[in-house]
Point group: C2
Chain length 386, copies 2
């Protein structure tokens, strides 16, 4: 059994190495990790005797991969694109992923500054068809923007069509968005989205299970969906044909006890047929971001936001503390104004503000950011409230 608590350097390195050996969602490998720990699994891959549960042939395949490992080189390659490796036990590890059981990621390669864990707390997935209609693109962009304006993080897969429109909608509203890729975070796919994904890495986060340089495969696309589903409070499907990947994400979300939602469309459109099938089952029909937030925001774990900050202000890291100090006592400020006031970039300010929101210090409205009542009362006792 692997030790609880933060991973040692050796464990972290072993996990980073194993992301190049085990395919995403490999539950047999996940069981080895749970029972033996990553260092022992990696050592075992040097032996001829297979670990339990795999054929000799499969074992040879894994050993061949393991023979080529140079995890330090992967970590260096990651650092060169501003990425880090986050694994279970890290403070940045999003614990909702543990709901995947033995199928949880070995670790995640994360590109972008903000805390994945903080962001995941208030996140919603918006997914759908790559070959969407203009209607689908419009609805995805409107949901992305609307969720961002309500202080929610938009998670999607970085693909053409609905995914891209949702990311762009969030970015355009000065919001936070996370792209979960089925390939190395230094090697964006699809190629036509290199600029978009680069922009997401600046203003948001680009994450994935695959190590630097690795490429997507059909099964990796499908298994990526479970990460999107697990990371978020709920999944909204905007246009999906029968048996599409977006519906697989919704199915994962439902199995994980997350909310599943769908945006209806014309019955005469094949691209709405999958959504309607979802809505005839357990999916909830939503027509705008307000309805999404009404549903996913209604969860006990979000209570800190209403109660106010859970962390004392002086435990914030200096960057976050400066951003918090740049907010006005009364009224609201845009991320740009906050950035100037705190001496940082606008992208950094956006990232910090969404983190501070997850911690209950601030809240976003469509026209800007403000201190929560509770923060304000603590900082300006006796009347600073707007």
């Amino acid at each position: 059994m692997t030790a609880a608590g933060p991973p040692t350097d050796e464990e972290r390195l072993a996990r980073a190495a194993l992301t190049r050996v085990l395919e995403p969602g490999d539950t047999i490998g996940g069981r080895w990790l749970r029972e033996l720990g990553p260092v022992e699994v990696l050592r075992g891959l040097g032996e001829e005797e297979p670990l339990p549960g795999v054929s000799v042939r499969r074992w040879e395949g894994l050993r061949a991969r393991a023979a080529e490992l140079r995890p330090e080189r992967d970590l260096t390659a990651a650092r060169q694109v501003g990425a880090r490796f986050v694994c279970p036990g890290d403070t940045e590890w999003p614990t909702p992923l543990d709901d995947l059981g033995d199928g949880r990621p070995i670790g995640l390669w994360v590109r972008g500054r903000p805390s994945l864990r903080m962001w995941a707390l208030r996140s919603v997935a918006v997914v759908g068809s790559r070959a969407c209609t203009e209607y689908g693109a419009h609805m995805a962009a409107a949901l992305g923007a609307g969720l961002a304006e309500r202080g929610w993080i938009v998670v999607s897969g970085g693909a053409y069509g609905v995914d891209g429109a949702a990311h762009r909608g969030a970015l355009g509203a000065g919001g936070a968005t996370v792209a979960v890729l089925a390939c190395g975070v230094d090697r964006p796919y699809p190629r036509g989205h290199v600029r978009l994904i680069g922009r997401i890495a600046e203003q948001g986060l680009v994450v994935g299970e695959l190590p630097p340089g690795d490429h997507p495969t059909p099964s990796r696309f499908i298994l990526r969906n479970r990460v999107i589903a697990a990371l978020t409070r709920g999944t909204v499907v905007v246009e999906a044909a029968y048996r599409s990947g977006a519906l697989a994400t919704a199915r994962s979300a439902r199995e994980l006890g997350r909310f599943t939602m769908g945006v209806p469309g014309p019955v005469t459109s094949g691209l709405s047929a999958g959504v309607h099938e979802l809505l005839r089952g357990e999916g909830v029909l939503v027509t705008d971001a307000a309805e999404v937030v009404e549903l996913v925001g209604n969860m006990g774990e979000l209570a800190p936001e209403r109660r106010g900050p859970v962390l004392p202000r002086d435990l914030l890291d200096p960057g976050a503390a400066r951003v918090l100090a740049a907010l006005p006592a009364r009224g609201r400020a845009t991320a740009r104004v906050v950035a100037v006031g705190s001496g940082t970039t606008e992208d950094d300010a956006v990232g910090r503000l969404y983190e501070l929101q997850s911690m209950g210090f601030v809240e976003r409205h469509s026209d800007g950011w403000q201190l929560t009542r509770q923060t304000n009362a603590a900082v300006f006792p006796g009347g600073g409230e707007s």
Copy 2:
């Protein structure tokens, strides 16, 4: 308390008369009818002393109407357009209307040959916006046709837009349809639908609570909706803005324990907004007639259809018996072929076939009518089955 069982001639005449005095859905009048019976209520309207529950002013209004009554003339006017007056206790009275309690119709003026009671057994309401889009008209027509092909009767309000498209879809598929009007059945409204409603009276049924010559009012339109809801197994809404009459019908249906369904559309269309609101509540999303039938057909009371006929064949009236005899032992026949074989008109054959279906003798498929297994086994014992 009025006597149970078939109404006397005097009671029937009194009810016919009262349809000109009491507005549809008047529950105070309904209570008088329940407690005193129609003859006594009519007599009471000749007295200065008000019956319980109304102001003197209101009573004077009712008395002024009652002073002008000539119910025999109304019955004659009805007969001249092929209409009859059906009231509680009659064999043709559709007992589901009794679910309206004191708000049930005093009686119904019915134009067209088929039995309203038989037809109501297998009926679905398709309602929606008068100012529908082409999408709404398309969906209403497709549902009307699809329900007809599955042997279901399509009930609607005879209005422009969705109602008209649903009726036309059913008629075009050689099906059965019922228009419930908010005016006299001899005085179709809207005027632009005089031909359509005339056609419905030939191939189907035109019914209403108002006596011959009476005109619609806003409140009569709204109260008409409760009859549509009560008469049918369920109500499908195709395009409806917020606070539309179609949504009122769906609300009535839900309150009466009927199924409520809605056809989704683009979120960007205001005419789908009301439907989506319904679908976010208790309404079930449906995309075609098969899904409607799957839902409404799943009721215990429809069991006779599966068990076979409940009425001995030799108790059928001669017209129905001739139609039944014209069906082939094997395979299916169109209504036209059945009409020729039984020496009647195609419209009459359609009406009879839907009645025979409600009684479990026959069933409709998209390409024609056939004997049910049970009928066939009874008529051709030892091998006539197809």
